[in-house]
């Protein structure tokens, strides 16, 4: 019974991970770790003798304690990894935000400079400069 439950759990974990991967909800770099965990659970569930042998070899009296210990180590590792990734992501977001601030100011200034240079009003500039060089420049940018 417990063996069946174990196999069921392992299969469930694997199915969830693979379906998340297929629907692109999970990046590969996170998925590999989880796939590995799922496979280890599956192997241990199919061959309970492995766990017994392993705990004997390591000198752990109760096999389930070995599972708990491994699970703890693993979860701490995963949490650390996520914190690390989050820090990376936060730094990237900050860089982007800084860039956006600078670029936005520069765009505003360019727009203003164009407006005053051509003596045109600011609103709807694209409507009345179809032949201006800015328009063709914009178009070539789009195509390239």
């Amino acid at each position: 019974m417990i063996v069946i439950a174990g196999i069921g759990l392992a299969l469930l974990v694997l199915t969830i991970i693979i379906s998340l991967l297929l629907r692109r909800r999970l990046r590969e770099k996170y998925a590999t770790l989880w796939l590995l965990i799922g496979i280890v659970i599956l192997v241990l569930a199919i061959f309970p003798g492995l766990l017994l042998g392993l705990s004997n070899a390591l000198g752990v009296a109760v096999p389930s304690n070995l599972i708990f210990a491994l699970a703890l180590v693993l979860l701490v590792g995963v949490a650390l990894h996520l914190s690390w990734e989050l820090s990376q992501a936060e730094d990237e977001v900050r860089r982007v935000a800084e860039d956006v601030a600078i670029v936005r100011t520069e765009v505003d200034e360019l727009r203003q400079a164009m407006g005053t240079d051509t003596g045109r009003q600011d609103p709807a500039p694209s409507a009345d400069i179809p032949t201006a060089d800015t328009d063709t420049a914009g178009r070539t940018d789009d195509e390239s």
Partner: protein
């Protein structure tokens, strides 16, 4: 107008400073035609950006609050891209007297980073207890690291030359105290030199300084933590600047 290669940028980080930033910007622009002023609006919820723009500053608007460190790195990145040779931080709250700007900038002739240290008008800054211990402790340790006597390392009134700007763009921390202490340590580890210039600080016009016993103790602990991390980081990863 000064030579293109000698342009100086004044960076004013501002977070919800609509009542002060206008005066600060006007005061700078009135006295110094030759400097460009850029206000970094650090995700303010009031109309800091509009006030600063109306006062005549160029304004960089950050989409959300990123702390002084984030605001300053934005300013330094801007300075870097636009080829400014010198940049100086001036706080929006009016505590830094614009009249001292040339003095702090003059310190760059001796070093890559010049700190405007508050000696004279210590009044407001003669903090008691833990906060004072923290400042003395930080100053002592950093003096040793910098191999020059520094008395006020948490001052935000500081100037940077081209080399320092390059280094700041590469690494300018945003964590607590990172914008002053950590940035200084990492700059020194990158081989930049530091000097300080005595300046007087003015009392805040609007808003209140955050000082209470518990806050000061936390300040002390965090400063020790921030400094230890910065020192342990050592020269690894911050050996970028060569030119």
């Amino acid at each position: 107008m000064p030579e293109h290669s000698e342009r100086t940028l004044i960076i004013v980080p501002a977070w919800n400073e609509s009542r002060n930033v206008g005066n600060t910007v006007r005061e700078i622009l009135d006295q110094f035609m030759e400097y460009d002023v850029v206000v970094v609006d650090d995700g303010s919820t009031d109309d800091t950006a509009r006030v600063a723009r109306e006062a005549g500053a160029r304004v960089l608007v950050l989409p959300f609050n990123m702390g002084v460190g984030g605001a300053m790195r934005t300013g330094f990145t801007y300075a870097h891209r636009h080829g400014y040779q010198r940049a100086i931080q001036v706080d929006a709250d009016g505590q830094h007297n614009p009249r001292d700007i040339p003095a702090v900038l003059a310190g760059l002739e001796r070093a890559d980073i010049s700190i405007g240290a508050r000696f004279a008008d210590v009044g407001d800054y003669e903090a008691k207890g833990p906060r004072r211990w923290a400042m003395v402790f930080l100053a002592n340790v950093l003096s040793r690291v910098a191999k020059t006597r520094l008395t006020d390392v948490t001052s935000g009134f500081r100037a940077a030359n081209r080399r320092a700007i390059d280094q700041y763009v590469h690494y300018y921390p945003a964590e607590y105290l990172g914008d002053t202490v950590d940035s200084l340590v990492s700059a020194i580890h990158s081989g930049l030199s530091v000097t300080q210039v005595p300046v007087a600080m003015r009392p805040r016009v609007h808003g209140k300084p955050s000082q209470n016993p518990i806050g000061s103790t936390i300040y002390l602990l965090r400063s020790v933590f921030a400094l230890s991390l910065a020192l342990m980081r050592g020269r690894r990863g911050s050996t970028e600047v060569s030119a």
